[in-house]
Structures are given as C-alpha cells and as structure tokens.
Amino acid sequence: MKQSHPYRSQPDEAFWSRAVAENYQANALVKNLFPILRANDTVASAGSCFASNIVKPIEAVGYEYVRTEELPFPLNQLPENLGYRNFSAAYGNIYTARQFRQLLERADGIFRPAENYWLMGEDYVDPFRPGLRYPAKSLGEYEAIQRQHLNSTKEAFTNADVTVFTLGLTEAWESIEDGAVYPTCPGTVSGVFDDQKYRFINFNVSEIVDDMVQAFSIIKSWKSDARFILTVSPVPLVATATNEHVVTATILSKSILRVAASEVSKKISGVKYFPAYEIVTGPQASENSFEDNRRDVTQFAIDTVMKSLISNCELPKDNDEMLIQKVTRTEKTSSSISRELMNAECDEVVLEW
C-alpha cells in the first residue's frame, strides 16, 4: 500500500517532469493570478524594461494606460533620450526600489534631496533624470519643471487602479549626505563623480522589501484601493561596481530582487508577483530568449511574457479607440488651425500691398 504524503495531493504544475520536461506552457506559471487586470482597470507603470514593454500590449486590447506628462503636437514629434516618454510620467527608467520610494516621497513633498540639481555649463540638470534632452536654462525654469513633473508623477499613481513595477537592480549610487539614490552613477550620463559626495550601495533583501512596502504604502495613501503587479527584470547588468564577475553579480542581484519581490507580495495587500523573470530566464525558457549578446531579451521572449499576461486578464469590454482618436484629433486640430491661420495671414498681407 502506498504511503500518503503531501506530494500526492500536489497538482501537475508542482512536478518538473509533468509541467516542464513535458507539456511546458508559460501560461501555466500565471494562471493562478487570474485576473491580473480587471476589465476596467487603468494601469500605470514604473521601473525598468518590463514596465515599459507592457504598454503597447495592454493598450492594444483596450486598457487605459495612464499618462500624465504627454506632450502635445508638434512637441511630441521631437526626439527624447533614454525612454523618458515610455512611462506614465516622465521619470524614465527607475532601477532600484529605493529610487522609486524616493521619487514617491519627493512627489508627496516629504523628501527634498540636498543636491536637487547639477549645473552643467548653462544647463540645470535633474540628477534623477540626467539624460533629459531639453534641460532648463535657469533655476526658476528648472524648479517649475520639476514641480510640475512631481505633481504629474503623483497624479499618475493616484489615477491608476493598478501600478506595475519592475525591479531592475540592487546596485546603485547614493548621496553620502542624504542617501538620495541616482538612476545612474554621477559622471556617466551627466554630473561629475566625486567620491566625497557619492558612494556605491548594493541593496539587500530587507532594504528592498522595506523600500517597496513604503513605496506601495505611499501610493495607497493616495489611492486606498490601489493594486500592484510586481516583476523582476530578466535583463543582466550592464556592469557591476563590485569585485565580482558581472555574471555572478547579476545572479546575486536578481536572486535578491526575486526574494524581495516574494516578501513584498506577502507583506502588503493587493500585490501580485508576475513571473516574467522566470518565463524568460528559467531553465525551461527557450534558447531564443536572449540575443547573441546574452543580455538583450528577444522580441520572441517579450511576446511570450505578454501573451501569458494578457491571456490571464479580464479584457476590457469597450474599446477606447474613439477616445484616443478624439484626443489625437484635438491635438492636431488646435495646432493645425493655428498654422493654417498664420499661413493664410501671411498670404493675405501680401495682397494688401
């Protein structure tokens, strides 16, 4: 007679031989999260790659992606750097939990970094958005833009039913004076590196958990029923500031982030962990998940992740295409009316002579 034990009652998904060696489906990793998004959810996102990759797929099926710092035509035709337009507000990539927490604290008016700008020649550079293509040229202009950006950031997360956040890195550079964390090491994209002012930090699990719990708590103070999707980026480090090989540094970093994500989802209500990281990097993942440089995630892998996300959402019933068209039409209308009027006036004034 066979002995009874807990594994006997486990489903097939709990067994490698049944769920991976044979019959593997990425969807199986997420189906217990259904519905990841509800039919009428509005979505904001922040973090690194996945948080921007989701935008097109969710909009394509009719979800509203919250945007609070969109540029009107024709300004939206001008180029910008480093993906500052890829997210709900123009914060760009946010790589660490601490950076995210501090962004929200700045938006809430409870943290003001001691070094609030870098003066690079005539340019007032935002240390937390160092790659912005169009810098302010006066302190007054800089503060006006920053104030409005932080207001827009708060508005984005206040208006979203669901915030998607992707944890990217554990390694960062912070201010020695007040612990302000930068998206990139000062002196790389902009700024000047000074080891008397900046130091390296490699966040551990408890620090990341605390930062994410605080961050989500801030958002919940703005919107009490806010929900969250937490993911870990599968993209390896560009470089490590530790003494480790970049591979071991990457695995350590991702492992810490993965454990932290699990802890956060237990500590705070309304958080779902979405296993994009596992879908792309697990032993079961396709050999086509990374490009030849073994760092860039292939479109195939992104599509696999998005398909498993979307297939476990309650899809919106009504399509908001009409709303999008109306906004586009309005943007082009005011600009085109202005231009047509000016062209006509320039023509007509000739005739007066």
Binding site: P74, E141, A144, E331, S334, S338, D347
Partner: protein, 257 residues
C-alpha cells in the same frame, strides 16, 4: 550675374535703394512704413517682397542671391519669419502647456511646463535657414537683422478673428465656434516671442551682424503689441510699426548724404 527669378520678386521704394528690407511677411509693415512716412520716403530705402504666394515662407537661396544684382544696395535689413509663437501655439493644445515665466508665480500652474530649450529645437531647422540666408547676403552686402512684431493681446486677436471668415471656417470644420477657441495667454506667447528674439540675436552674433531689438515704445505693458501698431489680423503689425523699425534699423546703418 543675371537676376535670378527676379520676375518673382519686386523691389519697391527708392529707384536706387541703398538699404533694402527683405524676408517674410512682416517686412510688409516696413513697406507700409516707407509709403506712409514723408521722412522715410526721402531716404534711399526699399523693400524686396515676393508676389508669388507659393514662396511664402520658403523664399529660397535665389531670393537672397538677388541682392548681388542690385548694385546700389549696400545694406540688407532682414526680417525673418516672426510667427513661430503663433503658428501651432496660437490656440491651446491638448494637453495644455505653459512655460516658465520670470515674472509670475508658477505655483498655481497646472499645465505641462515645457523647457524653452525644447522650443529652440523645434525652431532649429528654420533658424539654420536664416543663418544660411544671412551668410549668402553678407558675402556681398552688409546685413542687419531686426526683431519681429510682439504678440497681440488675446482680446485683440479674438476681436480681429471674430470678423475673419477664414478663421471662422477653420473653427467650424473642427466643430468649434469663435467663443470656443481657447487662445493661449498673452504671457505664454510673449515668452515664446522673447525666446525667438533671443535666438535671432544669437544667430546675428554667429554671423557677425547687428541685431535690432523691437523698441519698447510699441509694447503695451511690456508684453503685447499696442493696438495702434497692429494690422487687423492675429499676427501682423501695421505701417506705424514699420516706421518704428525703419528708424531703429537706420540708427545702426551709416547712411552718408
């Protein structure tokens, strides 16, 4: 060198002008100024303008090269574009935008704040054409670059456009009435206009020619064009403005008797 497309441009004013104003539509206020001022009529001044509406505003190298065929001309007064703040930004966009204003508080502003350096990039291609044009002219003639008319007040614009069938038609096509048209604020258009003047001054420095600012006497409260200097539309100035600009430009030009 024979005239290049000289049948497309007219040089109007003195028979043997020593100073010619050239550029886009705002030069016609200088033509009006010339005709309406007995004092200016006595001087060897003229305006070169295009009768071919298809050329506005793309007046091309040939227009500037034509001065080589006007041997009496010593100095060209260039008036370039001048409608960038109106074209595309006369009406409020969606979402509405604003710029930092040195003299009012931004605290209550809820519009997206756009750095002025972004407008510099938007206008960059046009200013590169200006620089090219001035270099063409300055190879054979002296050049003076003048400022362009300041923006008009919203009240004046709305008043003028309420009688403009073309504008009313444009709005109707977009499902709007004149009262629905949200014209951008005077301050917003003034800040953009001021940035345009700063760019013009920068380019004049690069080319090595004088830049003549619009004199303060034409301003209302330092922000908008006084109505008495305004043509009956949304953007152009009249002959009185032209007289003011001629006088300002001529101060920097040595016209010996």
């Amino acid at each position: 060198m024979p005239p290049i497309r000289s049948d497309i441009w007219t040089v109007e004013g003195s028979d043997k002008p020593r100073v010619v104003a050239a550029g886009h539509s705002h030069i016609l206020s200088l033509l009006g100024g010339l005709h309406s001022s007995a004092e200016l009529k006595q001087k060897p001044l003229a305006v070169q303008y295009s009768l071919d509406r298809a050329l506005w505003p793309n007046i091309g190298d040939g227009y500037w090269q034509n001065f080589q065929n006007l041997p009496s001309v010593e100095t060209v007064v260039v008036c370039w574009n001048g409608n960038q703040h109106n074209s595309q930004f006369l009406l409020e966009s969606e979402p509405a935008i604003s710029v930092h204003q040195d003299f009012t508080s931004d605290e209550k502003n809820e519009n997206l704040v756009i750095p002025l350096s972004m407008f510099d990039e938007l206008w960059l291609a046009d200013f590169k054409v200006l620089e090219r044009a001035m270099r063409i002219v300055s190879s054979t003639k002296k050049v003076v670059l003048i400022g362009t008319p300041p923006p008009k007040s919203e009240n004046e614009i709305r008043n003028n456009l309420s009688k403009d069938e073309f504008f009313i038609g444009l709005l109707a096509n977009a499902g709007m009435k004149i009262d629905d048209a949200r014209i951008t604020s005077d301050i917003f258009r003034f800040v953009l206009w001021k940035r345009i003047q700063q760019n013009l001054e920068r380019i004049s420095r690069v080319v090595g020619v004088p830049f003549i600012h619009v004199p303060p006497e034409v301003f209302d409260n330092g922000v908008t064009l006084k109505p008495e200097f305004s043509a009956p539309d949304a953007s152009h100035a009249n002959h009185l403005f032209g007289q003011v600009m001629w006088k300002a430009a001529l101060k920097s030009i040595a016209l010996s008797e």
